[in-house]
Amino acid sequence: MMTTPRPSRPAWQAMDSGELLLVAVAAILVVAAVAQTAASGFAQPRIALAFGGLIALGELLRLELPGARQAAPIASAGAIAYAMLLRVGAVPALHPPLHVIAVAAAGMTVGALPHVAAGRPAGLAGMASRLVAVACVALLFRPLAGLDVVARHWWAALAVMGALVALGWLVKCLIEALLRADALRVRFGVALSDEMRAQLPLGVAIGASSMLVAFAAEVMGLAALAVFIVPLLVTQLAFRRYAGIRDTYLQTVRALARVTEVGGYVESGHARRVGGLAVAVGRELGMREPDLLELEYAALMHDIGQLSLREPIPGGATVLVSPADQCRIAELGAGVIEQAGVLDGVADLVRRQYQPWRATGVSAGARSADRSAAGAPAPSDAAPPVGSRIIRAANAFDDLVGASSDRDRTMAALERLRLDTASEYDPAVVEALSRVAARRRSARR
């Protein structure tokens, strides 16, 4: 979702520099951990094996959260629980932090192998960020585990564990946000808050589960792992269904937006191109993920109002149609979307896409007349929302350029949009659009 498909390149080339750096850091950690473990051997091999097995299973059962985020809640919870283990039954847990890293890395590798064998991506970057987060928790907690204060006072153990779980979560969010900021050209602050919002519910579940297992192992021994895995599986199932329906939703809107193309109303691929362009521009302007999703829906469906026209507009290019007709199409489209009853924000973006960003002259008059006819409140002088401004510019750009990647044509279209920034198009949006277009050209070369 919301990722631009990358052209196929060798695996190491397909990785961004940020990802490479992260994987390198994780690799150094693993090498150190394995070397130390090989030298000292496992003090409690049964415990290490049980947690390693759990981590492998969790890695096998990875899931994708909305926004193409990979998560492996069971593996994460298992690894963090191993890092925070105080005792199993009556036996104190003695493993040093590097053992935790070695076990987590081994478990993850084993769990990832079937994915690789089935031809799915190994997800190295995701594994590396999870491993680094676990390493942080382990390196900080293991030295404390031996302290009297932690071993004797439940409040101290609880407080330390809570703080470290939160820290591990934060580290993971930071890493993922850095990667996203790099790969998708999102501002770091926006990427971080998006990441934290997306990861919070699952993070809370992982944190609570890992603390539970660490405590429960004292009473239940290793059976705690078998019992706790079931509810986490259910949680994971719920998230998987949620992510699945979100994907299907977007796919459906993408597909159904194409009815305008099949009907001959607009050029083939128009809706999808405008959708992709609008999202890229919105990201460039620092929009947040929920707003981007709304923008993508609106951009995909911005021409849906044309379905109500008896005959298609020649060429389907709304940029060449009179303002009154543009307004009518937008109004009809918004009406269709409002029917759904759940996408009012999207309907509003579609309704106001035809509005020039600065109200002047004829179009402003036409607009207020139309609004009073529709019985809507008339914020006629307020500028349209940024999403509408983006769709307006992206739509005009695509009407002028189409699927072509010709440099002169792109430049000419951008020039034409720039000339109209006094009233028609928002100059900030046009600038962002030209940056996106320039980047796409250089990527294609």
Binding site: A90, W154, A157, L158, P201, L202, V204, A205, G207, A208, S209, L212, F215, A216, E218, V219, M220, G221, A223, A224, A226, V227, F228, V230, P231, L233, V234, T235, L237, A238, F239, R241, Y242, I245, D247, T248, Y249, Q251, T252, V253, A255, L256, R258, V259, V262, G263, G264, M301, I304, L307, S308, R310, E311, V336, E338, Q339, A340, G341, V342, L343
Partner: protein, 456 residues
């Protein structure tokens, strides 16, 4: 619960009586047996149960709500035994959920009492110790506990399923022949939450966290609940959006407005009648909704043409299933739904389009949609005729059964109609402003085939 039939009343009374009996016995035995720590445990678990029960998530696929209250119940099974567990289950009588009627409250309470009591008896019978679990209890306690959890889920779903079977059908939300049990996913999640009960019970004795661990146990539970809620909301939004977009496609023709929605309903009705699984029913609902989306690729002037069509125009109309497939192919739902859309104009005798498949070669989804599609066409107004009565349309279905339609499906559809009825669409609004959206012929109408100019 809507108005109840006599059978439903009897069933309700039986469940409530059984639950009441068990509850009365439990109260008596608890009053004689329970010590002070035991009553604290009972109070805490009852409070947790109330908390879980009061925060349910409504699932779209069924009328009942889903709540994670199995965990405190199962913890009570281990910590308190049958009587205590029954009392914890009885807490749902006090549920803070809004909009519950007295009958629903009584039924839920009795159901939870019975489920908790049965689970505890199973646990005892298999040798599970009723006490705060210690280190020595593990792992031996897991087998009787798992059996208790399974018994709890079975009784819960069984009693509830029985009631839902007797309730008047509310829409097509609850497929009739799916049996007494919910979807596998729902069963699995209930079992999962039951397993949390053992964790709660085990942590009860913990030197550090003790009963406050119950709070920690609830955290993943409510996260899952949140995710389920999000899923349900997204699913509703998804269905509504799809319906809205399909309506937009239909605006071209006044007479076929609402056709997609009705075919979707009819196909789902028929699909549950023949006992399709819930997921397939939901897939066929979407397939029915989208079956004619490819009509948009047919030029308006062909759709609205009066008089016979040329060969090319006929070909353009007959291309619409393929066009539809082209549009929806990228949606990642069941392949079966795509097959249904592509082949919904095949005929059992092999004279349909686009491929001319015959008999069992035609995918089941397509055969189902074909029946619902033709039936809705016949019971709707067309520019060249009025809407047929339901009985008359059934006669037509019978007439074409075996040539155009699958006879078994026609019979099942008629049986479903007899039970659930069919709402015919209102005649279209023929005011002049809508005049440009009239089709002269209907490709779905088996009684009035498209007229084609004879070329020779």
């Amino acid at each position: 619960m809507a108005r109840l039939s006599r059978a439903a009343w009897l069933y309700l009374a039986a469940v409530v009586a059984a639950g009441g009996l068990v509850l009365a016995r439990s109260i008596v035995s608890v009053r004689s047996d329970l010590d002070v720590p035991g009553s604290v445990t009972l109070a805490v678990l009852a409070g947790l149960f109330l908390l879980c029960d009061s925060l349910p998530t409504t699932l779209t696929t069924r009328q009942s709500a889903w709540s994670p209250s199995a965990s405190p119940t199962l913890a009570a099974v281990v910590l308190l035994g049958p009587a205590g567990a029954a009392l914890v289950g009885a807490t749902s009588l006090l549920s803070l959920r809004r909009g519950l009627r007295l009958t629903e409250r009584a039924f839920n309470g009795a159901m939870n009492v019975l489920a908790a009591f049965t689970a505890a008896e199973v646990y005892l019978a298999l040798g599970g110790p009723v006490a705060v679990p210690s280190r020595a209890s593990f792992p031996w306690i897991i087998a009787p506990f798992a059996a208790a959890a399974a018994a709890h889920v079975l009784v819960n779903h069984g009693v509830l399923g029985g009631m839902l079977k007797l309730l008047p059908q509310q829409g097509d939300a609850w497929p009739r022949r799916r049996g007494a049990f919910g979807t596998p996913a729902l069963l699995a999640s209930d079992l999962g939450y039951a397993a949390l009960g053992l964790l709660m019970a085990a942590l009860w004795s913990h030197r550090v966290v003790g009963p406050s661990a119950a709070v920690l146990v609830l955290v993943p539970l409510f996260v899952a609940r949140w995710a389920m809620g999000q899923f349900a909301a997204q699913e509703r939004a998804y269905a509504a959006t799809m319906a809205a977009l399909c309506q937009a496609v239909e605006t071209k023709d006044l007479y076929t407005r609402g056709h997609s929605e009705r075919v979707s309903k009819g196909a789902a009705m028929l699909a549950s009648e023949i006992g399709m699984r819930a997921e397939r029913v939901s897939a066929i609902r979407y397939a029915g909704m989208l079956h004619d989306v490819g009509k948009l690729g047919v030029p308006t002037k062909v759709l609205q043409k009066e008089g016979p069509l040329t060969e090319e125009e006929l070909a353009a109309i007959q291309l619409h299933p393929m066009r539809g497939l082209e549009i929806v192919r990228e949606i990642g739902f069941l392949d079966e739904a795509l097959n249904g859309i592509m082949h919904h104009h095949e005929r059992i005798d092999g004279r349909g389009y686009p491929l001319g498949l015959a008999g069992d070669e035609i995918p089941e989804f397509a055969r189902v949609i074909a029946v619902a599609d033709a039936f809705d066409s016949m019971t709707s107004n067309r520019s060249y005729r009025g809407a047929r009565e339901v009985g008359e349309a059934i006669g037509e279905l019978r007439r074409w059964s075996g040539t155009q339609f699958d006879p078994a499906l026609v019979d099942a559809f008629i049986a479903a109609l007899a039970r659930e009825g069919w709402e015919r669409p209102a005649p279209p609004d023929l005011t002049p402003e809508h005049e440009d959206a009239l089709a002269a012929q209907d490709h779905d109408d088996p009684t009035a085939p498209l007229r084609v100019i004879e070329s020779r």
